[in-house]
């Protein structure tokens, strides 16, 4: 009799444990499939600002101009300490920017090719999901991933969550530069590229686009006639770490790069 009860209890416990452990997993799988499906939907219903980076025509000179003007205008402090540096826009080698789209047999042109990186203003941003104070959020009016420094408590959860490394923590108070009126940030808040929300507000385009000599295209994805939509239809583009399902909105044109440089081994 005892044996029977014992085994019955065991079964109940295991079943309960199995169900309890399985439900969240089911949810995750469903959520992930939904996200990826949503990502493949043709055009977003609401306004979603996006950037297309033409890497074929992007030179180091242009990239540095973009970084320079962005960091100067947004009061981004310079630091030699790589662990504490703050960056909104920066360069990374192709194989590190697109680790899941690089393999050893790729054309030589890709190896060490610098890529201009910035916040992807994702469709379902991981940083927003983890923020405990809603100091960062996905803005409905234009799809930007915004930040409110007043609410940021500096927990750096978003820095960990963002798979693209776009977020930087302020280890010390930034000095206000006299060259710009954009407010500096104080110690203890996280910052990143904001697609120049302060300029969009007054009808201007992001600063990096203004100095990109045509290699950066900026616009609204939900508008089928916008420049980015047309470019995305015409060219083969890739996004960073696509399989994670965050739905990045910075797109990269790479194919033309190959036409200019010799293939590996030629």
């Amino acid at each position: 009799m005892d044996e029977g009860r014992r085994s019955a209890l065991k079964k109940i416990c295991f079943t309960a444990a199995g169900v309890a452990g399985g439900i969240p997993l089911l949810g995750t799988v469903r959520a992930a499939s939904r996200t990826i499906a949503a990502q493949h939907a043709a055009a977003p219903q609401t306004k979603q600002l996006a950037m297309v980076v033409d890497m074929a025509n992007m030179t180091d000179e242009i990239a540095h101009a973009c970084i320079e003007i962005c960091h100067r205008e947004h009061n981004v402090p310079k630091s030699d300490d790589i662990e504490r540096e703050i960056k909104w826009v920066w360069q990374e080698e192709f194989d590190r920017a697109f680790p899941d789209q690089f393999h050893g047999q790729m054309a030589e042109a890709y190896e060490g090719m610098p890529v201009l990186l910035m916040c992807n203003h994702c469709d379902s941003p991981a940083c927003v999901k983890v923020c405990p104070t809603a100091a960062t959020w996905k803005r409905k009016s234009d799809g930007l991933v915004m930040m409110d420094m007043h609410r940021c408590i500096g927990c750096r959860y978003c820095v960990v969550a963002c798979p693209y490394g776009t977020r930087s923590f302020n280890w010390k108070d930034a000095e206000q530069s006299v060259e710009t009126t954009y407010p500096a940030r104080s110690r203890g808040v996280v910052e990143k590229c904001n697609f120049c929300a302060e300029r969009l507000r007054v009808g201007e385009i992001p600063l990096c686009v203004t100095v990109s000599q045509g290699t950066l295209t900026f616009g609204d994805l939900s508008d089928p006639d916008s420049e980015v939509s047309e470019l995305l239809r015409a060219k083969h583009t890739i996004t960073r770490k696509n399989a994670l399902g965050t739905g990045p909105n910075v797109y990269y044109i790479v194919e033309d790069k190959l036409r200019e440089r010799p293939r590996h081994g030629e």
Binding site: W137, R139, K140, L144, M149, R185
Partner: protein
């Protein structure tokens, strides 16, 4: 059973100690209070503020204005250049039994103009400016609100730096003295190397820019 006196003595000591914060605070506020009432806020940039007893009200307003102008070393006014009484009525308010005027003198032309005014009236701004600022911030940053506010028929951005601080450009005069009086200070200390002497914990200026900062940094 013979411990009654000790118990009551103990209870008395306990009561005195337990209620100490209450009567200490009450007593010291009665005895040592230096409360002089809320500070009088400065006039916004470009405006001239002066007051005269309410009883003297309508009488010799022009003469009073001339005196004020002389006191502020502004050019003397021709009688035609002064605001009409109706216009002046729009810019006065009674505070503590005094009529206070807020006018915008144009030193070059020797004229007085009605002060442009704020986004809301004086009473509203005095008690609710923090709500307005939070609404602006959340609207602009969080919801992407690009609408503008209108002051005297002119559009202004919903921005602390671009709109408010253009007139209220002296943080000592507009922020600190009142915030200090109201004890409405953020809990965290001021940035140590900043120019605000570390005495007031208003942290706004760690990031936001004060117009004409050189002139106001003490």
């Amino acid at each position: 059973m013979s411990d009654k006196p000790i118990i009551f003595a103990g209870l008395a000591v306990f009561l005195v100690l337990a209620t100490f914060p209450v009567w200490y605070t009450f007593g010291s506020s009665l005895l040592f209070s230096t409360d002089a009432g809320p500070p009088d806020l400065a006039a916004p940039a470009g405006a001239l503020k002066f007051s005269l007893p309410a009883s003297a009200g309508d009488g010799d307003m022009l003469g009073r204005l001339r005196q004020e102008f002389a006191a502020h070393q502004l050019p003397a006014l021709s009688s035609g250049a002064v605001l009409t009484e109706d216009e002046l009525m729009g810019v006065w308010r009674i505070v503590d039994g005094e009529m206070r005027y807020l006018v915008r003198p144009d030193a070059d032309l020797g004229t007085l103009n009605v002060y442009d005014g704020c986004v809301e009236d004086f009473e509203y701004m005095r008690s609710n400016h923090m709500i307005l600022l939070i609404e602006w911030r959340d609207g602009v940053i969080r919801d992407g609100d690009t609408s503008q506010v209108e002051i005297n028929g002119l559009p202004y951005a919903k921005s602390l730096t671009k709109t408010c601080l253009q007139c209220h450009n002296d943080r000592e005069a507009f922020c600190y003295n009142c915030h200090q009086y109201a004890n409405a200070l953020p809990a965290w200390p001021a940035r140590s190397q900043s120019t605000m002497n570390g005495e007031v914990g208003v942290r706004c200026w760690n990031c936001h820019i004060q117009p004409e900062a050189e002139a106001n940094d003490g």
